[in-house]
């Protein structure tokens, strides 16, 4: 019973949505999503790099591995994650709680608590410079100034005892040495930019005096204070109401475009990323299981895990169908199953999945890959 596919009635409908999200998305001859766009090939123009080389990505994470020392042994939380992002582009990193996506982000920022965390190997190339090997001072310089981060729970991520304006401009005062009056003015400008009403009156208020959505805007204003080139948003809307979620996502998208930033959006919510992301990287048990541009991923998910995730999203065009959830729970990072980490939950699992871990292989077109022993067509065929 457990082996029978719980998604079977649902999944065959998915590869053919009733209406294309973007006109022409499925026309391979158009200069669309499957060929490099201008944004992809543009060299990191705004990036202040030591030796700019063309073809380089603004931020390029390669084979990152992070472990945690725990009482129960070593937990392999991030196991060889690679992704990249360029100016003006939004990359979504998608995964359940415990998939290692936040740890990845914190490793990129260099704010992991070590110990217990250890970055075992990999590269975090920012403008060609490996941040994992530079001095602590240089690392700190990049942090906040070049790569900034917005955290999930703004109430706990903001210091409760300082006014929001003070916190927004703190980095400017302590790192750029601008005076108090200018810092205050900048804080108000930033609050205006993230559309906090009556910014001038609220600049001296404390975090607990703001609503959840406004607090998240404060967080964003704080992250943008130093005009970073990369913004990492870690579950920026998870703690918010649905209507506020949409506002925050819109704001992030607008700011990303206006400031020509690269945006990395970390989320477990497929619904949140659909409108905002250009590309999606799906993580499971500390590994990248699939990455693709957003439309391909929604239309033709290659990995069984992605398919499961998509089946669990409520869709207007599938009203009346039951929603599905992926059975089982994500693995304990201290005891990741042998072979493919997803095999205990995968309805397609075969003997090979229990024996060997699949590698991330390119599927057909450029910049689309999946870590599954079976090509998407084979998965589709098994459903028929």
């Amino acid at each position: 019973m457990t082996y029978s596919n719980p998604y079977q009635q649902q999944w065959p409908n998915q590869p053919a949505p009733a209406a294309p999200v973007v006109a022409g998305w499925d026309d391979p001859n158009r200069g669309g999503w499957d060929t490099p766009t201008a944004a992809w090939s543009t060299p990191p123009s705004r990036a202040r790099v030591n030796q700019p080389r063309s073809g380089e990505h603004l931020l390029d994470v390669r084979d990152l591995r992070v472990e945690f020392g725990t009482r129960d042994g070593v937990a392999h939380v991030v196991n060889g994650v690679s992704f990249h992002v360029d100016p003006g582009e939004t990359l979504a990193i998608l995964g359940e709680s415990g998939s290692g996506k936040s740890v990845t982000a914190q490793a990129v920022m260099g704010i992991l608590d070590t110990p217990p965390a250890v970055v075992r190997s990999g590269q975090v190339l920012f403008g060609g410079e490996d941040l994992l090997t530079v001095s602590a001072d240089r690392r700190r310089q990049v942090r906040g100034q070049e790569i900034a981060m917005v955290f999930q729970d703004a109430l706990s991520a903001l210091n409760p005892v300082f006014p929001v304006g003070w916190q927004i401009s703190e980095a400017l005062r302590s790192r750029r040495g601008i005076n108090k009056a200018d810092a205050r003015r900048r804080a108000i400008e930033l609050m205006d930019m993230v559309q906090i009403p009556a910014a001038a009156e609220r600049v001296d208020d404390y975090p607990h005096q703001f609503s959840g959505g406004m607090r998240q805007r404060v967080m964003i204003a704080m992250a943008l204070a130093m005009r970073p080139k990369v913004l990492i948003a870690d579950e920026p809307t998870t703690a918010l109401d649905v209507t506020v979620q949409a506002q925050i996502m819109d704001l992030l998208a607008t700011l990303r475009a206006e400031l020509e930033m690269a945006l990395i959006l970390i989320t477990h919510d497929l619904g949140v990323v659909a409108d905002v992301a250009d590309r999606i990287t799906v993580m499971y048990a500390g590994r990248v299981v699939e990455h693709a541009d957003v439309h391909t991923l929604y239309a033709q998910p290659a990995h069984p895990y992605t398919r499961g995730l998509l089946a669990s999203v409520p869709r207007l065009d599938h009203r009346g169908h039951g929603l599905h959830s992926i059975s089982g729970t994500p693995p304990n990072p201290a005891a990741i199953p042998d072979g493919c980490a997803f095999h205990p939950r995968c309805p397609w699992a075969q003997q090979v999945c229990r024996m060997t871990a699949p590698t991330l292989v390119r599927i057909g077109r450029l910049d689309r890959a999946s870590a599954c022993h079976f090509p998407p067509e084979a998965l589709d065929a098994r459903l028929a």
């Binding site: 914190q106 920022m109 704010i111 608590d113 700190r140 310089q141 990049v142 942090r143 906040g144 100034q145 900034a148 981060m149 955290f151 729970d153 706990s156 991520a157 903001l158 210091n159 409760p160 005892v161 300082f162 703190e170 980095a171 302590s174 790192r175 404390y206 607990h208 967080m219 704080m222 992250a223 204070a225 130093m226």
Partner: protein, 308 residues
């Protein structure tokens, strides 16, 4: 805020009257012969007896006597000791010494308690952390009647680093050893609280945010961690004041400091009612005012606290 302060002040009046009344009652009620006690061993003539009875309202009910005493107290008249000395004079001799001693003790407690507590909290599990933690445990368990004579013996008599006794007009240097003894327990509790508080705050989300801003490690600790960790520690100072005052009774006795503690002890032992009630009244006021100030400071330090 104003309403809160008024309510607290009213509560303080009730507490003050309650506390002084209890001590007044303990010192004066059921005295076999207060006039004889006043006169000591000398015989008292009927004439004198009548005058004194009048003067101290001894024929009035007990509560009325207390009322007369309070009226005097509020007009600044503390009355006289059994030996006939104005209590106001005794106080102006004793209080400066005790205030110096208590402030010095509080200074050492804050300096060592917060300083070492911060380091221990940041380096949890290190040798420094384990050593200080074990030390504080011993100090917390060390009654002042054990600590005071031993400190006097070791640092005063054997090593000779400090004067053994402070003398009639104690110098600041002479007060250092007594202050360290008096502040030892406070140092230990403050250290433990600071350590726990720092260890908790270091892992707080807003500290991670501060690091993500690229602030220097020094600034993250000095501004974000320390400021938030001080909030619970400040409240401890209010509680500690009572401990310090009680400890002063022993410390001043052992080191022979003419302060409030030794005067009080002497007063209790010689059943000098007016002296004891006078000193206790002032002590209670100091204690109540300090606690109110600490509570208000708490609201200043933590904007989330709103008193209404």
């Amino acid at each position: 805020m104003a309403r809160y302060i008024i309510r607290r002040l009213l509560q303080m009046v009730v507490t003050f009257i309650g506390a002084t009344f209890v001590v007044y009652a303990l010192m004066f009620a059921n005295q076999n012969d207060p006039i004889q006690a006043l006169a000591g061993d000398r015989p008292v003539s009927d004439n004198v007896r009548q005058v004194l009875t009048e003067q101290y309202h001894l024929n009035d009910p007990f509560v009325v006597q207390y009322g007369y005493y309070m009226r005097g107290l509020l007009t600044g008249d503390f009355g006289k000791t059994l030996t006939g000395r104005p209590i106001g004079d005794v106080m102006s001799d004793a209080w400066p010494n005790t205030i110096k001693l208590a402030l010095l003790a509080l200074f050492f407690a804050t300096l060592f308690g917060i300083g070492a507590g911060l380091v221990a909290g940041l380096r949890r599990g290190s040798a420094f952390d384990n050593t200080t933690l074990a030390l504080t445990l011993v100090v917390v368990g060390l009654p002042i009647i054990v600590l005071a004579p031993i400190a006097q013996l070791v640092f005063g008599v054997k090593l000779g680093w400090f004067p053994t006794t402070a003398g009639a007009r104690p110098s600041l240097y002479g007060l250092i050893l007594p202050a360290l003894v008096l502040g030892a327990a406070s140092t230990a509790t403050m250290l433990r609280l600071t350590r726990a508080s720092v260890a908790e705050n270091v892992r707080a989300d807003y500290v991670r945010t501060a690091r993500a801003k690229g602030l220097s490690a020094r600034r993250v600790v000095a501004v974000h961690v320390l400021r938030n960790s001080m909030i619970p520690v400040i409240t401890l100072i209010g509680v500690d004041l009572g401990t310090l005052m009680a400890g002063a009774i022993i410390t001043e006795g052992v080191f022979n400091i003419p302060g409030v503690g030794s005067k009080l002890l002497l007063g209790i032992q010689t059943e000098d009612g007016p002296l004891v009630v006078g000193f206790v009244s002032v002590l209670v006021v100091v204690f109540l005012v300090t606690n109110l100030l600490v509570d208000l400071l708490y609201a200043v330090l933590d904007p989330r606290i709103r008193y209404e």
